[in-house]
Amino acid sequence: MYWDLFLNAIASGILLGGFYAAVTVGLAIAFGMLDVGNLAHPAFVILGSFCCYIFNQRWGVDPILAALVMTPFFFLLGAAIYQIYYLSFERRGEEGLRGLAFFFGLLFITEVGLILGFGVDYRFVEAPYIGPTLHLGGIDLALRTLTPFTISLVMVAGLQLFLSKTYTGRAILAVSQDSLALRLMSVRPYRVKLIAFGISIATAALAGAFLIIIQPVEPSIGRDYIGRVFAIVVLGGMGSFPGMMLAAMLLGVAESLTATFYGPSWSPAVAFGLLLLTLAVRPAGILGRRA
């Protein structure tokens, strides 16, 4: 019985980890590769959730399909935000304090805007795969987490292929490795970063669909994800997708075990505690990546 509980906690933790990977992959691109500390990423995920909610409630569209329709718009939104960020901070060399405050402000505006628009009620979507559960031996896999898990794996794998095989993808990797060298070769990192940041925000639309499939969403739950996503990016080695997957699963399992054996009210501390631990123990090497 105890063993069953344990196995189930591990299984649901892994599924949760897959979902965390989807939430994080955008930040792994923005923060891990482009050095843009986009604190507002979780807020865009929530924005994605609410877009899916509108599509689902008004026209009964499947949330994942709705998210796919939304991705181009999120891409444009991301590009616009990067444009402002570039002009106001990066070009002036002030991305540190003011850039962070900028994203913190964006996070807050998105959240309060959603509260003004939708109130603080929990919203949810309807889809055929939300109710049923798959039984494999003693392990229960809820389809509402299995579906996001599967699509999330496909998305991350797709992005990995895009980055390593296509011309644009390789350009993004080149920017992340040495942006100064690129400039010496008369390439403008600006345009590459614009596209990359657009992609980063576009993934938030899909992650938002997953979020609202897994659990009901209200505007301020995005905050809980700030610690998680940054913990995963840092733990995963700043922009490495395999590392990120591993870190996401680790966090998912750790949270799921804590929730099962100690109670869900302790799970926020897991992510942030893990983050503090990673930040404190991890040698300063990761900080001097550009230096």
Binding site: G93, G227, F272, L275
Partner: protein
């Protein structure tokens, strides 16, 4: 101006302001004034670390709530007068600030900022799971109906926060115009160069984080008596963190005037919109103004009034300085 002169003139300001407030008969003025003064303390405290030293603290609400909850604990155990609560809250939050200073050894820029956010959430989780202080249900504090000498309790709270704001501003001004302040500015502009030039960076950073944390805790200590009902969601409200960042950035981070101006400006706008329009909209204002100011007026309100020439004379910030 010598330090002693500034402390004296701040004290005179506090006395004059308080004397003037005795003429106000509407109690609402004291409730709103308390909030604005509390934000002056928070913004000034944040600026000691954020503006002078260049380390961004997203965990203001954590320090603030440590002060508030230490008061709750003391109130349940023994019920000492508020000045004692403020000192205890300041010591506890200062100790956590000292710990946060240790983080600066390893963490710079974004990593430090996120570390402070993590710190606030970890503290919040512990408070939420601690039944003695009410857990997630919150706790009621019954305050005495009257205060000594002043009569009305809210007048007493207002006076306390006014004095605290005076102390915070005077401390910030003293730091700014001392060797400590120049050392902090050196760290902000280029930590490696400062270290190489013999600035004891770790010691200065520890002083800065401890002072900043302690002042935030002191601002939070009277909170339970002001709100009379405290739960983790309101004590750790992200609004405190956003305001503590927005106010110095809107006012200007390089001098003690900035946070005070920003706190008065944003604090008043928020109180007015809270009463006249809606309480969610006032937070939207803060977010929008924060974004607008960092994009359009990077030096804040005081930057707008500085003559152009002086601005150009300022040494160019090193791009990597903040990271």
């Amino acid at each position: 101006m010598k330090h002693i002169t500034f402390w004296l003139s701040t004290a005179i300001c506090v006395v004059v302001l308080f004397a003037a407030s005795r003429l106000v008969t509407n109690d609402y003025f004291f409730f709103a004034g308390y909030v604005v003064l509390q934000y002056i303390v928070l913004a000034t405290a944040w600026n000691i670390l954020g503006g002078y030293t260049g380390y961004i603290n997203f965990g203001t609400s954590g320090f603030f709530a440590i002060g508030a909850y230490s008061s709750v604990v003391l109130h349940k155990l023994w019920g000492p007068p508020i000045p004692v609560l403020i000192i205890v809250g300041g010591i506890l939050a200062g100790a956590v600030g000292f710990g946060m200073g240790g983080l600066t050894l390893r963490l710079k820029g974004v990593f430090f900022a996120i570390g402070t956010l993590a710190l606030a959430i970890v503290v919040q989780t512990f408070i939420t799971n601690w039944d003695f202080v009410g857990g997630s249900r919150g706790v009621y504090i019954i305050r005495p109906p009257t205060a000594p000498l002043l009569g009305s309790y809210i007048h007493y709270l207002f006076l306390i926060m006014l004095v605290l704001a005076g102390i915070a501003v005077a401390v910030a001004r003293s730091i700014e115009q001392s060797t400590l302040g120049y050392g902090l500015a050196a760290i902000r502009d280029d930590e490696q160069a400062a270290e190489a030039a013999g600035v004891p960076t770790l010691k200065l950073k520890l002083v800065s984080t401890t002072l900043s944390g302690a002042l935030m805790g002191m601002a939070g200590a009277p909170l339970p008596y002001y709100v009379t009902y405290l739960d983790p969601a309101s004590g750790f409200n992200l609004a405190y963190a956003v305001n503590a960042i927005a106010m110095p950035l809107v006012g200007g981070t390089t001098s003690w005037v900035g946070p005070v101006l920003g706190a008065i400006f944003l604090g008043t706008i928020q109180e007015v919109t809270r009463v006249t329009i809606s309480s969610s909209l006032n937070l939207l204002f803060v977010g929008v103004l924060l974004v607008l100011f960092v994009v359009i007026a990077p030096n804040g309100l005081i930057g707008l009034y500085q003559p152009r020439r002086r601005r150009q004379d300022e040494p160019q910030r090193r791009p990597q300085a903040a990271l």
